[in-house]
Structures are given as C-alpha cells and as structure tokens.
Amino acid sequence: MSGSERSSAGIPLPGADASADGDSAGNARDSVFAAVGWALARDIRVALRSKGELGVQLLFYVIVVSLFPLATSPSREVLATIGPGVLWTAALLASLLSLSRLFASDFHDGTLEQIALSPRPLMALVSGKIAAHWLTAGLPVALMAPLLGVQYALDAPVLGTLMVSLVLGTPILSLLGAVGAALTLGARGGGSLLALLVLPLYAPVLIFGAGAVDAARAGVSAMPQLSLLGAGLLLALVAVPFAVTAALRIALD
C-alpha cells in the first residue's frame, strides 16, 4: 500500500515514494542530489537577478577593510600586524550582512512553506540553499581578500594562506549563520538578534582563520590552524543541516 505509485484518486504522486520506503537507495540518493541542485540553482539564479545586493556586500567588505589603514597608521609594521585580524573580522561582518536574506525572503513569500511540503528531503534543499549562500557571499569575499591584503603590506605567501583560510572558513560562517537565520525566522527584530546570536559562534573561526595568516606571516607553518578549520568545516557540514531543518519546521508551525 505504502509503496503504491498512485493514490486511489488515480493521480500519480511524483517522487513521493522513492525516498519514502528506502527500497532503492540509489533513487533516494539521486533525490537528495537533485534536491541540493534544485535549491542551489534557484538561489543562485535569484541572486544573479538581484546583482545590487551582491555588489553591496562585496563593496561593504572592500570599504571596511580599507578604512583601517586610514584610521591607524601608514607604517608597514602596524598594518602587517593588524592586517590578518582586520581582513578576517570584515569577512565575518560581510557574511552576517547577507545572512538575513538566506531564509527570510523565502519565509515571507511563502516559498519555505512549499519547500517544506514538497516530497523532497528538506535537509537536502536547505543544504543547497546554504551552498548557494556561500557561493554568492563567502567565495567572492575569499577571492577578493588577497587583493585587499596588499594594502596591509602582506607578501605573496601570506596572501595565499589568507585566501586558503577564507576558502575553508567562510563556508563555516555560512553554515553557522544558517542556524542563526533559521532560529530567528519570524522573530521581531530578527536582524539584530541574528548578529547577537551568530557573532559569538563565529569567534573560533575567526581565531583559527586569523591565526593561520599570522602564523604564515611569522614564517611558521599554518597547517595546524588550517587543519582545524577543515575539521570544523566537516563537523558543521554534518551537523548544521539537521539543526536548520528542525529550526525551520518550528518556524513554520
């Protein structure tokens, strides 16, 4: 009965059963990948249509990073000392800036309800959305950072480490941020609440990320910090989709 492809009303139930019974693991896996791809493609397409928002976030990063040399001193030693911290802190803030749109717009236009009611696994759809957020928010910052690092008198190997640390660290920011965004969904003043909730969680990422760049600057290996960032990323990849899915269902109730 449960495996029937048709309801008694004679209307086919597309895709409902493949993942329901787990009788064919291949189908279920395909369904998960298709769901990730669906959410990813949709969110990236929407993001590309509203280029203004993407630009604002990247410009925000450029401006914040460029303000510090103006406010402190032009001395190369001072700039090289504060550089890694500034570049990383600004990346945290830039990631935060775009977090509010991760689930809020879908929540307000009803898309989230429909996604939660679709036969696809919500966890896979959520993972796709988070991946899209990183590609449109985290990755551009990571790619831009070495260029801005030149202002801080950091040399090429240090800039390389900076980029690697951001490529490993910004997905963690998107993942942790997604938990905060899902939890504050529908709450009044969600935006500022989100910052209070998420920024402390970002602290370990900041410590290891900026630490890796500092180590490279001091001429020691940055591998310990980078490994820890990688481990953190794997941990977040496994744990976060569960938490976000649960939080979204609570928000919809």
Partner: protein, 212 residues
C-alpha cells in the same frame, strides 16, 4: 466509521492559538471528488485548520487521516499528496512566471512536459505575461499563477486558503474550471472561503466554524 478511506477524515480535532482555543472536537470528512468549504468569521481558525490539514501544523488534539493513514506534520506521504495554496503565492519576484512554475515542476522530480507551463498559464489567461518578472505583476495575476501551479504540480488533495481573494470574474472562472477538472479526476479539495466556490453545488460540503 466513515467511509473516507479515499479522502480526508478528521476526528476530535482541536487547535489553539496562544491561549485561546480556536475549535475543539471538530470532525469532518471529504471523500474523492468532493470539495469541503470551511466558513466562519475572521479569527475562527480557518487558516489554522487548513495548515493542520496540509501538514504544516500539529493539532493540539485529535487525528487527521489521509486515505486511512494517520498524518503527522511534514509526513512524507502527506507531502507528496497535498498542494497547499495559502495567503502567500510562493513566487520569486526576480524570476518570471514561467521560471517560477518550471522550478516548482522540477522540485517534483518531473521534467516539464513540452509546453505544460505555457498551457497552464494560458488556462489562467496569463500567456502574454509568461516572461515578465513577478515583481511587475498585480496581486490578482500572482494569485492566478499560484492557481496554474496547482494544475502543474499534480496532487490529489488541494488545500486552498481564500482562493477567490483578488481574483476578477475571469480568474474565478479559471478557478472553477480547474476545480471541476480536479474533482472529476477524483481529487479532493478543502478550501476556506467567504464566498461560494465556483463549482457545482452538489459537489460541495460545508463546514462552519464558530467564533471562538
């Protein structure tokens, strides 16, 4: 026992919003080919009831069955069977009507049949606007696109919240045609509405909620 093994069957349903009990010990059934309209004053719990039927919210008490199986919120069987059309049209402002509808079909794991999207838009008289971004369309036009989605995302149970809102006479006719086809195919529809649904009266049952 009611004979609603092929439809929706609710027993002893109760819902609360905050501290206020909206309804309690509510029972109703809707079998294949039937529409159930939920009526009642504002704040009597129509939307809450529909969200319970759609599987978005859990009832405080009672049980709801779909084709004889008890349902819990976000139940996978329910998710594959229900089409929920709420107050929000679930359309992305940045995308066109066509892109929005194509995305919803793709989510259901089906490649869109040749021009199913075009036909569905034609059925709600929006074929000319198919490439316009949703941003520039009116409320009524958005509602019509949401109706076109019902036709494309084929589900046996339709849950419609105020489907007549913002629709003009032509739109109401389109909704009537959609509902007729759906019910004739053995589908079930539960709708909250202040006006009579534009379908034959003998197909419609009514459930009146009283003010809490």
């Amino acid at each position: 026992m009611t004979s609603c093994a092929d439809g929706v069957d609710a027993q002893g349903l109760a819902a609360r919003r905050g501290y206020a009990t909206l309804f309690a010990n509510l029972r109703f059934a809707a079998s294949a080919g039937c529409a159930l309209t939920v009526t009642g004053p504002n704040g009597s719990g129509k939307t809450t009831l529909l969200r319970i039927v759609a599987g978005l919210t859990a009832p405080v008490e009672g049980e709801i069955r779909w084709q004889g199986h008890p349902m819990r919120p976000f139940d996978l069987r329910m998710r594959g069977s229900v089409a929920f059309n709420g107050h929000l049209p679930a359309l992305k402002d940045e995308l066109s009507a066509e892109e929005n509808l194509r995305a919803w079909i793709a989510l259901d794991d089906r490649s869109p049949v040749d021009d199913a999207v075009g036909e569905a838009l034609d059925a709600v008289a929006l074929a000319r606007q198919r490439r316009l971004p949703i941003r520039v369309l009116s409320q009524g036009q958005r509602r019509r696109i949401a109706l076109a989605r019902l036709r494309l995302v084929r589900r046996p149970l339709w849950v419609l919240d105020e489907p007549l809102t913002a629709l003009d006479a032509e739109g109401v006719d389109a909704l009537g045609a959609l509902l007729d086809a759906h019910l004739a195919g053995g589908g079930v529809c539960i709708a909250a509405s202040h006006q009579a649904l534009p379908i034959a009266r003998e197909r419609v049952r009514s459930l009146a909620l009283s003010a809490p």
